[in-house]
Symmetry: C2
Subunit: 675 residues, 2 copies
């Protein structure tokens, strides 16, 4: 990598150097810190009444005990592996056995995600009690690690003789990825490297096992790719980067590795490789396909690899795939995954509102991917979509009280359909306490706790403000510490940045111009050079203590229409305010939301209201309710002669999508008919 | 049953006394006679190239051989049953074994349906060659019958020790039902009773096995109920009626019989009883639920039972269920079954167009149910719906050349979705040659071959014309043969009936007034009493040779709207002409049919056109195509600011729904957006 390219890229700030000050986001991150993280710890320990046990800590204890036995007892015999299923439940739920693995076979990852979130949280809010808890958890993880470096409690408990024999389904490399993420986060936060050493030992063991002339498998559920790159960036150890490159480039090669593991049924469709993004080599891929979470985790790893190695071919694949997502397969809520079958991307422009999968984790992974592309090239396409996902599908994943969660985030819900239509059984009309497969809630925790890393990045002399989230930042430029205090007031649409420093310094403050605001005026700032390039405004020059930059970026409500190829959105519109997607809910608008229409040239009126004690800007609009005429029935009571439609005037109330389903069970719709 | 009630009911005419003369329907029934029936025979014998073998005749041969062995070889040992699956395929497809059962375990029913259709066909078109073929097939069936009277080749071949141990899934009583239907049809057509005797022997054996204080099971797939009643009506043997009553009334009683056969998984949902209409006793049922074909077969049996026994409670249940179907769960095409999951009714008003199941067989069963209700009480509700099903979903089931078939009849199709969206894999954009589970094509044959029985019924002194299908009818009244020649010309909307007889006779000609025509004028016919009652016009009096009745019943094109509770049809309309539902197809209207709109106060123009060489009235209407503005993109290429819709004028061409997919693969839509 040459130095010139290096300076083009930007990096997240060290989280010690940035503190979010935005009220809205403080509320969210505080919810994670004070409610979700403690709640998750209880969940990991199976102490939440009414929620199914996770068995996560149980499994680590059980593996640790076994490892102790192995070391201390010379008669110890390794268990011989027998497959016990994808999810194992105790025969007697009241008395789980002390020496058995329970739960989904990727259960370990829940603890890693929790540690990762704790790491981020400790930076902004040092908390010795929480740190002691995490240290204890890390001790437990370390004591469960196999002498070989291997670390996955499912196999340690059930028999190590079959490790890495079912990469397609059994998630060992997925758990490993989350271990790395946790280790790096905790090390960066606390300087403690115990977990990092565990991760490196496991990584070394994996690297000994996989590679050219060794096992040429790759993860069934991606994440190890980007996790290994983080491990490389922290340790500087090249073998981790090479291993990540191996995993990325082996995927999709023929003969298919997964076919070596599993007997291929006759006439098996190619589609099952698509599920794993393994149908063709990743460099040849253009259409985002398969399991959406796996997909965006892979693409994130590819983007990191392209950045670090300067691999233009890989970067081109990332760009094509990004374009495929955002131009053909993206919900207006920033959700991805149009079908619950395989929790997957559907075909281009197939974006059903009522059967959407749009998993919370998939939008989190989309933010990972966007954030990594942004580091390579700051373009609003990445930022706009990252912001959509964050403000809508990610936030929607968590209740306003932080105690219940959505896995699936549809854009239209009828509780009756969820109950009576098996095709919609994946859609829940109210958030759930927890899930057997609890990937989403801890993913929300780790994302929101590290939000500052997505909102801002920096290069040597430039501070990028990608998201309009006020923060207090310290940036080192030319030996000087520059403090930048930013704020965005959505009510008046004012963005400001104040600069504080001991001595003047030359730097660039780069602000993204969001696509949802078309009339940002280029300010005239004395002594600064202001240029707009590719959707970012670059304000460069010598900054002096007390300098301020102010921009008017109003987030006015607006009506959005989808591309005409999106069948499900024909003659429907969505209401947005900045990046916040709005919806109509039964609580405000009554039942049978499909009968409601918004007026074509309607005025959108902003009003302040309260939802569950939280102040919020709602939007009111004139509308109509289509009514049955009830006349001239033909054939049966269901059909009648059409003599024009009959409408009653009504007022529609739109609330932010992420706040829906906080006032009991009811219908919801994002796309509303337009008249 | 009292005599007074008897005279209220009507019966189908003896098919020897009626000949259809309507050109449109002659074309359909001739297609069945000259193409479908011979083609099916080839299918049953596994002689159609490119179609998967059915193994139907193979199985009967195999069973017959085994029975011969059993009788002639004293060392013969009965096979001991081992379950071989719901569908059995030969290990070596090139060399199926002579002594093994293959295909679906209900494969026998295909031959029975074929014999039933042949029976009807022989009445209207005596054909000694075809009759000889059928006689041979019946000989084969008879020789395959077990000494006990039992007759199901799956168990005869695989082991009789487990007969009737899996009533829920294994279709023995279903095959028995079709055997009865075939036996009655063939006996009525030819006077030959060989198959009827087989059916009776099997029925006797079943009656010995099932009943109070014996096995209290009932069919998993209904049909035996109505078949036993037909057997009773032909033989006069009361035990068959009682057995049917037993099957009807045992269903849904607790503890559930199917739970005695099968271990009940913990927490198993009640829904699996709904699938079999066995969740509550049938007399308590109100909502039509579960597998749609099974449901309407059951309801048909219930209606027959109510008619014969005068059971008002049972009749009330039939009425409630009928009302539930037609007022909450009926497609405008006469299709039923909103979901492919369980091939079932969905919940009320859930009538998705694109994922509809709407199985051809379900509409055929709906005609059975409607026809039976009509016999009890001639009401247009029954006739209108019967006609909808017949002209649309039933006809749609068969290609114009009679050589390919639809199983599923959606109201909206995108070939891309059928290929790429697993949720629509049940929907085919083109008709298939045959199906592994080939219930629909032979069901079309047997319905269309006996169509006259649905179009007309009679009581002592009344001839009912339910469907507007011209026919040449002989009716006996008071010792006189009255010949009635009817015709309906849809182009000019003229219905006529001419009466021929040796001497004058008093009778009533009752014509149903279809709901699709609101302006039938009551004619002034000299010497006749004309009254309109419950949607039928009764023209009574002394008829003399040469009398004619003429009615103007125009089938003008009209625009239909669904009840506002049908979410999927909001702001959409369908075009109908009489009972014929129209659709737009890609061949005439281009791609992306979801972007097309029909004008609100549009004039519908009838034009004559040709589809696959067949003359047809198509309907033209002014419309619009919604276009992308392509401006003001926000967030991504998929979304833009809404500034009103942009439309291009276009002309829409509607063709009859049943003719769709005869001109290659393309999109189709019944419900069209209205502007």
């Amino acid at each position: 990598m040459t130095d010139s390219r290096k300076s083009v890229f930007s990096s997240p700030l060290d989280l010690h150097n940035i503190r979010i000050t935005d009220d809205f986001w403080i509320r969210q991150t505080e919810l994670v810190r004070t409610v979700v993280i403690p709640y998750q710890w209880e969940m990991l320990n199976d102490r939440v009444e009414g929620a199914a046990p996770s068995y996560c800590i149980h499994n680590f204890r059980c593996a640790a005990h076994l490892m102790k036995e192995k070391r201390e007892n010379k008669d110890f015999k390794e268990p011989v592996f027998t497959y016990r299923g994808f999810e194992v439940l105790p025969e007697d739920p009241e008395n789980p056995k002390d020496d058995e693995f329970y739960g989904f076979l990727f259960q370990d990852s829940d603890l890693y995600k929790w540690i990762e979130a704790v790491g981020y949280s400790l930076i902004s809010h040092p908390d010795s009690e929480l740190e002691a808890l995490a240290d204890g958890a890390i001790d437990l993880v370390a004591s469960a690690q196999h002498d070989s470096g291997y670390l996955d409690t499912y196999y340690i408990i059930n028999g190590m003789d079959k490790i890495f024999t079912n990469l397609r389904d059994n998630h060992e490399l997925y758990c490993f990825g989350h271990l790395c993420e946790a280790a790096v986060s905790y090390y960066k936060a606390t300087g403690k490297d115990k977990l990092l050493r565990c991760a490196c030992r496991f990584a070394d063991m994996i690297d000994d096992y996989f590679g050219p002339d060794k096992c040429n498998g790759y993860p069934g559920h991606e994440i190890a790719e980007m996790a290994l790159i983080r491990l490389y960036e922290v340790t500087g150890c090249e073998r981790y980067l090479k291993l990540a490159a191996f995993f990325i480039d082996e995927r999709g090669k023929q003969p298919y590795y997964f076919d070596k593991e599993h007997e291929v049924p006759k006439g098996a469709p190619l589609i099952r490789y698509h599920y794993h993004q393994a149908h063709i080599p990743v460099r040849e891929q253009a259409e985002p396909v398969g399991h959406a979470v796996r997909a965006v985790y892979l693409y994130s790893g590819m983007a990191d690899m392209a950045r670090i190695t300067g691999d233009e071919e890989l970067l081109a694949a990332c760009r094509r795939i990004w374009s495929g997502i955002v131009n053909e397969k993206l919900y207006i809520t920033g959700g991805i995954g149009g079908t619950h079958i395989g929790e997957s991307f559907s075909y281009p422009y197939d974006l059903p509102n009522d059967t959407a999968y749009a998993e919370t984790c998939a939008s989190i992974g989309l933010i990972f991917f966007a954030g990594r592309m942004l580091r390579i090239c700051p373009l609003p396409s990445f930022t706009d979509v990252m912001e959509l996902a964050l403000y809508n599908t990610v936030l929607s994943g968590m209740a306003l009280d932080g105690r219940s969660f959505f896995y699936v985030n549809p854009l239209e819900v009828s509780p009756l359909a969820c109950m009576r239509d098996e095709r919609k059984f994946h859609v829940k009309p109210v958030r759930q306490k927890w899930f057997g497969c609890a990937c989403c809630p801890p993913n929300i925790s780790r994302l929101l706790s590290s939000l500052a890393a997505y909102a801002y990045t920096e290069s040597d002399d430039t501070l990028y403000m990608h998201l309009y989230i006020g923060a207090d930042i310290t940036k080192h430029v030319g030996g000087v510490d520059v403090r930048v205090v930013t704020a965005y007031d959505a009510e008046i649409g004012k963005l400001s940045a104040a600069f504080h420093m001991a001595e003047s310094e030359e730097l660039t403050f780069a602000v993204r111009l969001p696509s949802w605001c078309s009339d940002v005026k280029v300010p005239d700032i004395t002594g600064k050079d202001v240029t707009v390039r590719n959707g970012y405004m670059y304000i460069s020059g010598f900054y002096t203590d007390g300098d301020t930059v102010e921009l008017s970026v109003p987030a006015s409500p607006m009506i959005i229409e989808a591309d005409k190829r999106v069948r499900e959105d024909e003659r429907c519109v969505a209401v947005m305010r900045g990046p916040v997607c709005y919806c109509i809910e039964e609580a405000d608008n009554g039942k049978e939301l499909h009968n409601l229409y918004i007026e074509e040239d309607v005025e959108l009126r902003e009003e302040t209201a309260e939802i569950c004690g939280q102040a919020v800007t709602v939007i009111k609009a004139n509308g109509y309710r289509a009514c049955n005429t009830g006349e001239d029935k033909v054939f049966s009571g269901l059909y009648h002669k059409y003599k024009g439609s009959k409408f009653k005037e009504t007022e529609l109330t739109f609330i932010p999508y992420h706040m829906w389903a906080n006032r009991g069970e009811g219908e919801m719709r994002v796309f509303v008919n337009v008249l």
